[in-house]
Point group: C2
């Protein structure tokens, strides 16, 4: 007997038939002796349709009103899932983010969770009920309804899993798991059986859309095992967990060297590159540039500063395309104040990343990556690395060629990425 | 400077263009120095679509979940109206029923308002903002979201108008006012300039769909003047108010005898007739029959008991067709216990009512009505009267003939129903 949190994305509850299938699967999970907490997204394109309506009535979308508008989508889903459960004899009760005690800060449209009270959730489970919770939303410290931004429903699910100390947080989606690359671009991409939190974090940060970065961070910080799987096939998907414990347990049985160095090739085309030319290379320049961007909630991703020449340098960084206009406005002002030579930007770029825990112990991954891209005639515009990731920015037109070449060159096209058994399902 | 509450029904906010038109009208009302509280219904067919979804996922609709589902419709409308107002420079803030402090009992899907706190509403108005409130919903004493049932948005508007002591509660709809009869059935029906609360109450109770009965009751009890008008033409519509004060004020100027005896001919085809035959005429029989129906929330409308013969009588009553199955189940059980001879029912009936404050002082209205119908060959199945209303149940096939004949016979086809001036608009 354990507690399972199941999060169903928009495609998983897109229509009445899908909602009934979800109810059946919840019943199935309960029949195996588990308490179940269900977290739902808005049905299919509901959120997009609501945003479209907002655009049609107004060019001004006050955050408080936008949050009120968008939170209705998940409320519709949760009520319908409860009804579908009632129809097959499962006692269920729905909760909004507010009702379940997801307390956030006051930043509308991208609020952060401060606390999960979860009293009503625990009471519902103790009463033998399935709890169905609206994802993506909370209530702020000043008692207004807030939304958690992109991927917010995943974050809701993980936060609730942590709050009730769930055995697993299952993320149901329209793909069967996390892949070594995007199968739409790299046809030979394979489903990964499991990944370490760190790898998943880097993949999400590098552009993998399967799991939102924030939800993986939350899962790692609270050690909530994730299971990413399909609500269309219900087959086992990809586990994301703390591999260090598992590898230690299994060291006698397995040879860690069988693991490939690289887990995946990830791309991100939603960012634009901004370059500030000819700024003085002196203390405080970066702060002067990036503090106002942070204050404006612009998410700066890669930052590269050239080696300075004659005390003058160039600074390049990437921002989400949606934030580009806001970023340029700020950067142009700051660049003027700093006496910079100019500001340029380029939207036709893609970030390609290699991610793998194995690269910690395998030197030369970055060098090999650069060589492979050079041989393929792909020019590299920016580079950034972490201990288990190497990212490059290239021209958008080179995206497919770069990904496929790297996928093959790093041995991801065939064979098992991981041969370790799955954790026992309770 | 006054306070105007404006309620916009589903057709008035059916699409982005209508929502923008509403915003313009709110701006217009403010430009005349009024504080404005807007109450919105769900857009167009939203509520019907949500009910359809519920039916598709389940045959079981727990009231709590149904209320959560349906309240999303008004929330979408209110957020969009606020955005449309922001777009034309009007500072607006939205409130759910819960946020504005509409406290209800715990009867899901048809909750009754116990109290309107309205603190946030008054604060918003004091801060110079337009308040936009989701109609049809409240929060129960046990803190669950509830809905107010049919016509709930009208009730919300009137309750808020009473809470802020508004000068008028304007009900915007897709017709230009209250008519002397349904223009789809009686082409010669005329728009009434004004009506007394009592008349509107009787008309709503007798089947007029323009205003919900509960909202008129609330308006009468709190003396909130109503103005029913069109959001498509924005022309002046029908005022519903306490005529006794106005008539007293204007007695020198006007001859009350100019008012016609009858204000309107109203029909109701949504009810069915149930007859219990051959029950003993003794104390407690009616209670035994109607108490369980009340307990099951079946709204019994007309009740007629025949003069008993040999201590045996028949009891007929009407119920909404939607409640007929539930009613018959109960009535059959009770009839068995009471030793009744049998139970029959008939769905092919219509209730036709004459309503008019003038009939208080004009004897013989009922007699004339029966004569007119007899001359037209319409058989009367049931009769019930109040001081300002006479209702008959006839076969559904006679609906049009009965209404048109009565409309003509009671002098409603031409001339001004009321010649009194409209109240001054502040």
């Amino acid at each position: 007997m354990g507690i399972v949190v199941q999060k169903y994305g928009g495609t998983s509850v897109a229509d009445p038939e899908r909602i009934k299938a979800v109810a059946e699967h919840v019943a199935f999970t309960r029949s195996h002796g588990n308490d179940v907490v269900v977290v739902v997204s808005a049905m299919g394109k509901t959120t997009d349709n609501l945003i479209s309506l907002a655009n049609q009535v107004s060019s001004t979308h006050p955050g408080r009103e936008l949050d009120m508008l968008l939170t209705t989508g998940e409320r519709i889903s949760m009520a319908l899932v409860c009804m579908a459960l009632a129809d097959i004899g499962i006692d269920a009760v729905s909760f909004t983010g507010s009702q379940v005690g997801i307390i956030t800060d006051t930043v509308h449209t991208k609020a952060k969770i401060l606390e999960v009270k979860g009293d009503r959730l625990r009471e519902a489970l103790a009463a033998g009920k399935v709890a169905v919770v609206a994802g993506f939303q909370g209530v702020s410290t000043d008692r207004e309804i807030t939304t958690l931004g992109r991927g917010g429903s995943d974050t809701t699910a993980v936060a609730l899993a942590a709050a009730v100390n769930a055995d697993v947080c299952e993320i149901y989606t329209d793909v069967t798991g996390v892949f070594s690359s995007d199968p739409r671009i790299v046809p030979q991409a394979r489903k990964l059986q499991r990944l370490d939190f760190e790898e998943m974090l880097e993949m999400a940060g590098a552009g993998s859309k399967v799991l939102a970065l924030r939800s993986v961070e939350f899962a790692r910080n609270h050690n909530v095992p994730l299971h990413v799987r399909s609500s269309f096939t219900w087959e086992h998907g990809t586990w994301v967990l703390d591999m260090s414990t598992i590898n230690a347990q299994q060291s006698s049985k397995e040879n860690a060297m069988e693991d490939p160095i690289i887990s995946g090739v990830v791309h991100e085309t939603g960012e634009a590159k901004v370059t500030v030319f000819g700024v003085a290379d002196k203390p405080g320049i970066s702060a002067a540039l990036f503090e106002p961007l942070a204050d404006a909630n612009v998410n700066v991703d890669m930052i590269v500063q050239n080696t300075s020449k004659d005390g003058i340098t160039d600074i390049s960084f990437t921002v989400p395309k949606a934030d580009l206009a806001a970023a340029l406005k700020i950067v142009n002002t700051v660049a003027g104040e700093l006496g910079a030579a100019g500001v340029t930007h380029d939207e036709a770029v893609a970030k390609i990343s290699l991610v793998g825990a194995g690269m910690k112990t395998s030197p030369g991954v970055a060098a090999k990556m650069f060589r492979v891209l050079a041989d393929a005639g792909v020019n590299i515009e920016m580079i950034s690395t972490s201990t288990i990731r190497v990212s490059v920015v290239v021209g958008a037109a080179n995206t497919e060629k770069a990904m496929r070449t790297l996928h093959t060159a790093f041995g991801l096209d065939s064979g098992q990425a991981y041969s370790a058994p799955l954790p026992e399902r309770k």
